[in-house]
């Protein structure tokens, strides 16, 4: 009996897996999803999030992971801090919110929240889309529709700002350094708009949509003003030939008068 036990132990192939390439040998699907995501592009792989583990490669059934102390299978209660170890600013924004408190509640609580993966699916970690998020707000906030509409309005405003920034960038590429057109206000408004967009994307984890509204609409307002000014400048400049016509008419008249005077002098 002891001999069989020893033999089985000797035959067990327990290996320390601490490189992404080894994880991928079994977890092919997850690896594909991560590789296509922003984490894959940033070279954040399996081990960066899940740590290293001892795995029994010869085990045929059940979970071959030994789940050592270096292994992290994400628990809901710690998820925000774990993601926040890199995404520090987002975690700081989220910390005072009710969402953060909800991640610490036990599984028996109906409104216990899953943390970051509630909006940013794990492994895909895509930028959260407005439609699915708003849908996922419904189950908990069904009694508070105002909250959901505030969030939806904020999100629409951010999308509009992003679109306007794209148009402004196209206008800048056309008009920078063209004569008669002052592109500097639009350039500054564009930079400020980009900064506001980036800040808003982080700060929205703090859920204070009404408070952030003022900053975003100010940036959008100055961007609109600069863009309109630039396009009206460009239209005015395009009409410059209209101002040229009277000058040319004057020159032509003077030429005719010179001819007439010349005739008079020599007759």
């Amino acid at each position: 009996m002891a001999f069989l036990l020893l033999a089985s132990l000797a035959l067990a192939q327990v290996e320390r897996i601490d490189r992404d390439e080894r994880c991928v040998e079994c977890h092919v699907d997850e690896a594909d999803v991560v590789k296509a995501s922003v984490h894959g592009a940033a070279k954040v792989g399996c081990v960066s999030c899940h740590g290293a583990d001892d795995v029994n490669l010869s085990q045929k059934s059940g979970n071959p992971h030994r789940k050592t102390s270096t292994f992290r299978m994400y628990r809901r209660q710690n998820l925000a801090e774990d993601c926040g170890s890199c995404h520090i600013a987002e975690l700081d924004a989220m910390r005072p919110t009710g969402h953060f408190k909800a991640t610490k509640w036990g599984n028996d609580q109906p409104r216990a929240m899953r943390g970051c993966v509630a909006c940013h699916a794990h492994h895909e970690t895509a930028r959260a889309e407005r439609g699915p998020i708003i849908k996922s707000c419904q189950p908990c906030h069904v009694e508070e529709p105002r909250i959901i509409t505030d969030a939806a309005e904020w999100s629409e405003g951010m999308d509009a700002l992003s679109k306007r920034l794209g148009e402004a960038a196209a206008a800048l590429a056309r008009f920078e350094r063209r004569p008669g057109i002052n592109a500097r206000p639009l350039k500054e408004a564009h930079a400020a708009g980009n900064a506001a967009l980036a800040e808003g994307r982080i700060a929205q984890h703090g859920l204070g949509f009404k408070a952030m509204e003022a900053d975003r609409s100010r940036a959008a307002g100055s961007l609109d003003a600069a863009y309109n000014r630039l396009t009206s400048d460009e239209r005015a400049f395009g009409r410059r030939w209209v101002w040229l016509m009277p000058f040319l008419a004057l020159v032509l008249t003077s030429m005719i008068l010179v001819r007439t005077q010349s005739r008079r002098l020599t007759s």
Partner: protein, 332 residues
């Protein structure tokens, strides 16, 4: 006008009489080009003075000041475009004006002093082009400053032209002073002398042909119209600021293309010497009364034209044909 005539000796009657004189078509041509040049010089003086009110002649502020002239100052783009197109037109017309005199052999006595003054005026125009191109400090201007600095160092006048050991702030200041004060002062003095010399020579009175008034008036007005059309429909732009770590493929003003092309296979000293020989030869022309002068002059001009064309074509692809660095067709 009697009041004026008593005090200056120029009466309305004498002006009218002079203006009514008819000119033979062959004498009318230099009057037409000459009047155009005088009008252009005046517009350059006015537009240049206006630009000088906003331009900042410091190496780190020059480009930004020209940018603000184009973008923020009302009608700044118009003043700059007039100045730029006026410069191009002056260079073309002075060359045409001078070449006509050369081709008709009118540099011989008694036209020799007039010829010398014309050559000196062309030299001043070239100097204004060299100094003016550098002032905005865009890629073209920066290249011009580098070449001017290395050419001046090649003849030992480096410290005089650059105000130091390399192109920089002092060089820009000197070029600005030359472009705005020294060269225009010399040019206006020479122009006044030239006009006085021309006024003394009375061309033969003819019975049929345009009157002097027509030549002067129509030519001057046409110049203004052409300048306005060019400035409004082809306004001057501005390239990006000069970067000491990067040189984009900018060619200099077309007037300098022969020198640019020669620099590709000659050291700067040889190019400066070539230019000096060109001008010395032109100045000495009235005093060397030999037949082969015209042939030598024509050869020199065709060499300059060939070099200029090669320079313009070099490193370009035209209608699918690629030209190498020396302006010769090359396989891509």
């Amino acid at each position: 006008m009697g009041w004026f005539g008593e005090r200056t000796g120029v009466s309305a009657a004498s002006v009218r009489e002079r203006m009514a004189r008819r000119l033979a078509p062959s004498s009318a041509v230099p009057v037409v080009t000459g009047t155009a040049l005088v009008v252009l010089v005046l517009t350059q003086a006015v537009s240049g003075s206006l630009l000088a009110m906003y331009y900042k002649p410091a190496w780190d502020r020059a480009h930004a000041s020209v940018e603000s002239i184009l973008a923020a100052i009302p009608l700044g783009w118009l003043v700059r475009s007039v100045h730029l197109w006026g410069a191009h037109l002056i260079l073309v017309l002075s060359l045409a004006h001078l070449l006509r005199t050369f081709w008709r052999g009118e540099y011989r006595a008694p036209g020799d002093l007039r010829w010398i003054v014309k050559v000196l005026l062309l030299a001043i125009a070239a100097g204004l082009a060299i100094t003016g191109q550098v002032l905005p400090l865009d890629a073209e201007g920066h290249g011009g400053a580098l070449v001017a600095g290395s050419m001046s160092r090649a003849v030992g006048a480096g410290r005089l032209v650059q105000g130091g050991d390399e192109p920089g702030d002092f060089m820009l200041g000197r070029f600005f002073a030359a472009h705005v004060l020294w060269l225009p002062a010399a040019g206006l003095a020479l122009l006044a002398g030239h006009l006085a010399l021309v006024a003394r020579r009375a061309p033969a009175e003819v019975q049929a042909g345009p009157t002097t008034l027509e030549c002067v008036g129509l030519s001057g007005l046409a110049t203004l119209a052409v300048l306005a059309l060019l400035a409004v429909f082809a306004p001057a732009g501005l390239g990006p600021a000069a970067n000491p770590l990067e040189f984009k493929d900018e060619k200099p003003l077309w007037f300098f293309l022969p020198a640019y092309q020669s620099l590709k296979f000659l050291p700067p000293l040889a190019v400066v010497a070539g230019g000096a020989v060109f001008f010395a030869g032109a100045l000495a022309l009235p005093f060397v009364a030999k037949r082969w002068i015209r042939v030598a002059g024509a050869v020199a001009l065709s060499v300059a034209l060939l070099l200029g064309t090669a320079g313009a074509l070099s490193n370009r692809t035209i209608a699918g044909m690629h030209f190498n660095n020396h302006g010769l067709p090359a396989s891509r």
